[in-house]
């Protein structure tokens, strides 16, 4: 187990290293960052002063290690546009995105687990067909269009829900549904396929032969096995929802890190873009790491094999 943990930790570390190099280089592909900060109309002296001030005149490798060192201690520099440190901006925005991500994942699981389980118990039943329909439609649905249609329907026509901002919990309902629906098809298909496999397996036949109740068979025995891939995929989906939150937060003017990321990209506010990209990547790497470790605890075959 210990060697598995170390191996997994090491690969997570390497992934983050490569991600950080990529993010760092992206900023420098942009041509001269000093000109980007100073603005195109600035004089040569101003550009030169900024170059020295931000350390853009140093060798790239030195800049990279300096940037990494500061990022590790939570210092992402100052925003070029707002007179604030990037970490203050992140701390203010991150909770909103995390609330959105967690509620969207919760929404997706709330839909996909029951439907997937029922569909597996009675294949080809009405519920199976309905869940299939939800999955097929969800896979082809442009998330941002779904969000716009919801705004027209629930916001403009019915006036049930606020369409922008993050003043109250009601502002989170439509973004949660839009983002959660995006994750639903994968989770539902996975639940259904996993449950069908489990229900056909020998240990379930044994459980039935022992005369266990249907509820105990389904939830104690079959579902437990399905949870392993679901935990993994949920971690991956949470990561892609953080990425997708950029589109959704922009539409609903929900001012989390996705909204901030859009705003910063438009303004070419590099330290902010770099920090948000890095934060989302760190979340993804740690969530998948946590899911793998959790699965290794649940399933001994993983940590040995």
């Amino acid at each position: 187990m210990l060697s598995f943990v170390f191996k997994r930790l090491f690969s997570a570390f390497l992934t983050l290293l490569l991600v950080s190099v990529f993010i760092f280089l992206l900023a420098h592909l942009a041509g001269d960052p000093a000109i980007a900060v100073a603005g195109k109309e600035s004089s040569a002296e101003d550009v030169e002063r900024i170059r020295v001030h931000y350390g853009f005149d140093r060798p790239l490798v030195e800049q990279y290690f300096a940037w990494c060192g500061r990022a590790l201690s939570g210092d992402f520099g100052r925003s070029y546009h707002y007179q604030q440190t990037v970490s203050d901006m992140l701390i203010a925005r991150l909770p909103i995105t995390l609330v959105l991500g967690v509620s969207a994942l919760g929404f997706a699981l709330l839909i996909s687990l029951p439907l997937g389980i029922f569909a597996a118990i009675r294949p080809d039943s009405l519920i199976d067909r309905i869940s299939l329909f939800i999955a097929v439609v969800g896979q082809a649905m442009p998330t941002f269009w779904f969000a716009l249609v919801m705004i027209v329907f629930f916001g403009v026509t019915l006036r049930w829900l606020p369409i922008s901002g993050n003043a109250s919990w009601q502002n989170f309902i439509m973004p949660t549904i839009a983002l959660g629906y995006f994750a639903t098809p994968t989770l539902m298909r996975l639940t259904r396929a996993g449950m069908i496999d489990a229900l056909e397996s020998d240990y379930i036949r044994t459980a039935r032969a022992k005369g266990l109740s249907q509820g105990s068979i389904l939830f104690k025995h079959a579902l437990r096995n399905v949870m392993i891939p679901i935990v993994s995929v949920s971690a991956v989906q949470f990561g892609s929802m953080l990425s997708g939150s950029i589109v959704i937060e922009q539409i609903f003017a929900l001012q989390g890190i996705g909204w901030l990321g859009y705003d910063a990209t438009v303004r070419f506010d590099l330290p902010v873009v770099q920090a948000i990209t890095l934060v989302i990547a760190v979340f993804y790497v740690f969530l998948t790491l946590a899911a793998d470790l959790l699965n290794a605890i649940l399933d001994p075959r993983i940590r040995i094999g």
Partner: protein
Amino acid sequence: MMRQPLVLEMIPQSSGLARRVLGNASVLMSGAVLTVILIVAIAAPLIAPHDPYVHDLSRRLLPPMLFEGHNAAHPLGTDPFGRDYLSRLIYGARISLVIGFSVMLISGFIGTTLGLLAGYFGGRIDQFIMFVINTRLALPIFLVAMSIVVVFGPSITGTILTISLFLWDRFAVVVRSATQQAVSQDYVTAARSIGCSNRYILLGEILPNLVNVVIVIGTIEMAYAILVEAALSFLGFGVQEPMPSWGLMLAQARQYLFFDSWLVYIPGAALFSLALAINLFGDGLRDLLVAGDRG
């Protein structure tokens, strides 16, 4: 391990999605819809009733058919610049199809190559490629794509390359595990024992056996690429005005949400139908090609 579910999702099931919904008619129906869209896209100059780029400010925001005050010359109405909505929709199909297809080819090439190498050679090469895949998955697609567009400036080629950079992972993951299965099979062992080169075994023996799998992933990824392009264009970081990308049409319709919501429905419905048709076609193909191989 964390990759396993994705693979699992792609492994053909004996009763495929589409077959259970519509029976075998699914491939036919989605295929017919796709053919119509393809013909419309190719023949756009012949079919489109108006020039999609000509502004006519005296005819701004005309409503579509069945709405009060519509104009028979503009069956789907006109956009905020007075351009014929149907003509823009027809030309927009070209953009979606060209970008979707190009991204599928490029990302399919990258992903299949990496997957073949990782699955065949294993060991350190496999570890390295898995590590590249993990890095790609950790990067937030929209944020990085938007930054790349800011750096290099927006263009259709740029949009295609940027999206391709992000969508090869599923090809790589599935081809890798399919190659791992193939390596242990008799025909590969036989090819090795008679001294075939690695290059020949990979390209001449294993790859032809994976063609069906790659085609099936390709259709699904093409639909996804079309949705990603639309989202990027919607955000203003993809195809630019005056090109009639469906995502861009939605972005322009956004401020008319309150009074002219049909502006939002039409391009979105087109986008959804195209993605749905491609997905159903892919699901049907999976039943026909991949499941058929196994049975």
